[in-house]
């Protein structure tokens, strides 16, 4: 287990470094110059004014130092939790902007991932035992999985929001409300949350169901299942075992999927104008706010890394095979 975790940690550490470095490179590689943006925004024309403003913003964004120092400073600032200053939302600190958006994204992602995982796996397991259900669930599952995230979101917004008017189609909570601890506010929050959540939930659902169905079929064919059956174990017990074992690859799959789901969440947020990271990323790009983009991406990467790490720990807990030190030799 130690070896397993050590290896994972190494991968995560490496990914982190790569991600941070890539991140740091973004504003330096992207076309357009943040300083220029700030100056241009002021729409001044005076040469001296331009020069002094340019100077000022260069200092503010730390772009006046030698490149290696910028890189080191970046790391140092990172550990202080300082992600720089937003260009678009100047002078708001990026970390604050990002932190404000994070709860919304997590708020739709975590329930959607967990619920779709649980429900999907359950449906898949059921499909694996019933031919009827299989014939229905499988094609439906595939079609749902094949839907572009935003299209499902658009349809939901159109159907439940525009046509039926049951749910609002924009914002995190009603514009007439002030955030507070109250039932009416919570209900409103929930109402705004529901459609983005639902679209993400639905799209992820099919994949899990199908994966589970296939895995269970494999598991039911496995030796231990046959042995249990030969010893007169009821189908229930065998299914229970198969389900449990089939969940392991599903959990790994979950780790693999995180990035993708996140992409979906971003797009979904955009459709529903939900004030999460997705909208932030898009705005950052549209406004060439590299520092915000940088910060958001970093946050996202760290989020995915942490989630992956958690999944790996969970994995160690549920799969004894990881604990025996049988980390794969190459043979």
């Amino acid at each position: 287990m130690r070896g397993y975790l050590a290896r994972k940690t190494l991968v995560y550490g490496l990914t982190f470094v790569v991600a941070v470095t890539l991140n740091w490179l973004i504003p330096r590689l992207m076309p357009g110059d943040p300083v220029q943006r700030m100056v241009a925004r002021a729409a001044v024309q005076h040469p001296e004014t331009i020069a002094s403003m340019t100077d000022y913003y260069e200092r503010t964004f730390g772009l006046d130092l030698p490149i290696w120092q910028q890189y080191l400073n970046y790391w140092a600032a990172l550990f202080r939790g300082d992600l720089g200053t937003s260009v678009w939302l100047f002078p708001a600190p990026v970390s604050e902007v990002v932190l404000d958006a994070v709860p919304y994204t997590l708020g739709i992602m975590i329930p959607a991932i967990l619920l779709s995982f649980v429900v999907g796996n359950t449906v898949g397991a059921m499909a694996a035992r019933s031919r009827w259900l299989d014939n229905v669930a499988l094609p439906v599952g595939y079609l749902v999985t094949a839907m572009p995230y935003m299209w499902l979101a658009i349809l939901l917004a159109w159907g439940f929001g525009v046509a039926l008017g049951w749910f609002p189609v924009a914002g995190g909570y009603d514009f007439g409300l002030v955030p507070q601890w109250s039932w009416s506010f919570a209900a409103d929050l929930l109402q705004h949350w529901f459609l983005p959540f639902l679209s993400l939930f639905l799209v992820s659902l099919g994949g899990w169901a199908i994966g589970m169905r296939n895995l269970i079929i494999y598991e039911l064919e496995s030796d231990y299942a046959n042995y249990l059956a030969a010893l007169g174990a009821p189908k229930r017990l065998i299914r229970q075992y198969a389900f449990r074992n089939a969940q392991l690859p599903q959990i790994t799959g979950l780790a693999l999927q995180l990035g993708t789901i996140l992409g979906g969440a971003l797009v979904t947020e955009i459709v529903f104008a939900y004030p999460g990271l997705g909208k932030l990323v898009l705005s950052a790009i549209q406004n060439q706010d590299f520092f915000l983009l940088q910060g958001t991406l970093l946050f996202v990467v760290i989020g995915v890394l942490v989630a992956n790490f958690v999944i790996d720990i969970v994995y160690v807990l549920v799969d004894p095979r990881t604990r025996t030190g049988l980390t794969g030799g190459t043979a």
């Binding site: 496995s222 030796d223 231990y224 046959n226 042995y227 249990l228 059956a229 030969a230 010893l231 007169g232 174990a233 009821p234 017990l237 075992y241 449990r244 074992n245 392991l248 549920v318 799969d319 004894p320 095979r321 604990r323 025996t324 049988l326």
Partner: protein, 316 residues
């Protein structure tokens, strides 16, 4: 009489037709008897073992009966069979290495399995531990995962687990094949011991290694291409086989003293017939040096001496 199999036919469904893997076999296994089954690969040994406990989805029961302790086993009916499994017929599978759920502790799995048979784990725990000791395992294996055990250990755990409810009949399929000689010996001996202790009444041991059978079995049944060829006490099969196939099979086995330079053994020419459309009559006909016209008709499996059955026209 513990087990009586009468004209049992079990076939595999395939796209190209039925594979007649078990095509009318009749034999008995007495109380306390360890019967070994030997034969070339693909002759139906495993099929026979499975037929007695659980047909898989591709197998179909075409005919014949199996009577265990005066009860007919409903082998074609999976649900009805469930009642008989484990308590009456039990199995040590060919794949003992992977027979246990990799993600459950062994004790937990036994508890679940016993629970499914309405037996309280704690009631049998002392007996379980006693038997584990008997096969040289510490009771703490119950708290371990299968992957933490070596092959021989797993094989022995499966042996204990499979016989925990003292079944009348235990079927062991290639129980020792994957093991090193020393583990092989230990497991084989444990089998005999279990019979001696009365944990199981009778046993069918399937292996292609006849020398192991010679060590553990009371009687040996030789199969050929879905048919029975010969059944006799182990010593007799080794020293006085009657069926030409058995003779050639035994003759092809080098003993530890044999050397190529001194005495060249001979194999059996040819291959067994396809079981998809097996030829009528004696299935060994094509490879048999004694074959004659009569062999176009299937020879009956006759008792030619006390406890010695042979299916060959050439044997009187």
């Amino acid at each position: 009489m513990a087990l009586a199999v009468n004209d049992l036919k079990v076939w595999y469904r395939t796209r190209r037709g039925d594979v007649k893997a078990l095509d009318g076999v009749t034999f008995e296994v007495a109380d306390g008897e360890i019967m070994g089954i030997a034969g070339e690969s693909g002759c139906g040994k495993t099929t026979l073992g499975k037929a007695l406990i659980r047909l898989d989805t591709r197998m179909k029961h075409v005919g014949g009966t199996v009577v265990l302790d005066d009860d007919e086993l409903p082998i074609g009916d999976d649900n009805a069979m469930r009642r008989h499994r484990y308590r009456e017929v039990s199995l040590i599978p060919q794949y003992a290495m992977s027979a246990m759920n990799p993600t459950r502790k062994i004790g937990r799995m036994i508890r679940d399995l016993l629970g499914a048979h309405n037996v309280r784990y704690n009631d049998v725990l002392p007996e379980l531990e006693r038997r584990l000791k008997l096969v040289g395992l510490e009771p703490d294996v119950l708290g371990r995962y299968p992957i933490e055990l070596s092959g021989g250990m797993k094989q022995r755990v499966v042996l204990v687990l499979s016989t925990l409810l003292d079944p009348s009949l235990l079927i062991g399929d290639e129980v020792t094949s994957a093991l090193d000689v020393s583990s092989q010996k230990a497991v084989a001996r444990a089998l005999v011991e279990f019979r001696d202790h009365g944990f199981v009444k009778s046993m069918i041991v399937i292996t292609h290694d006849i020398s192991v059978l010679f060590q553990v079995a009371d009687t040996i049944l030789v199969m050929y291409a879905g048919h029975l060829a010969e059944k006799a006490p182990a010593k007799t099969i080794i020293s006085d086989p009657l069926h030409p196939y058995t003779k050639m099979l035994i003759g092809a086995l080098p003993k530890v003293g044999d050397r190529y330079e001194e005495q060249q053994l001979e194999g059996i020419e040819g291959r067994p017939p396809s079981l998809l459309e097996p030829p009528a009559g004696c299935r060994f006909r094509d490879r048999c040096p004694l074959a004659h016209d009569r062999c176009a008709e299937a020879p009956p499996f006759r008792e030619v001496a006390e406890g010695h059955h042979v299916a060959c026209w050439a044997v009187s």
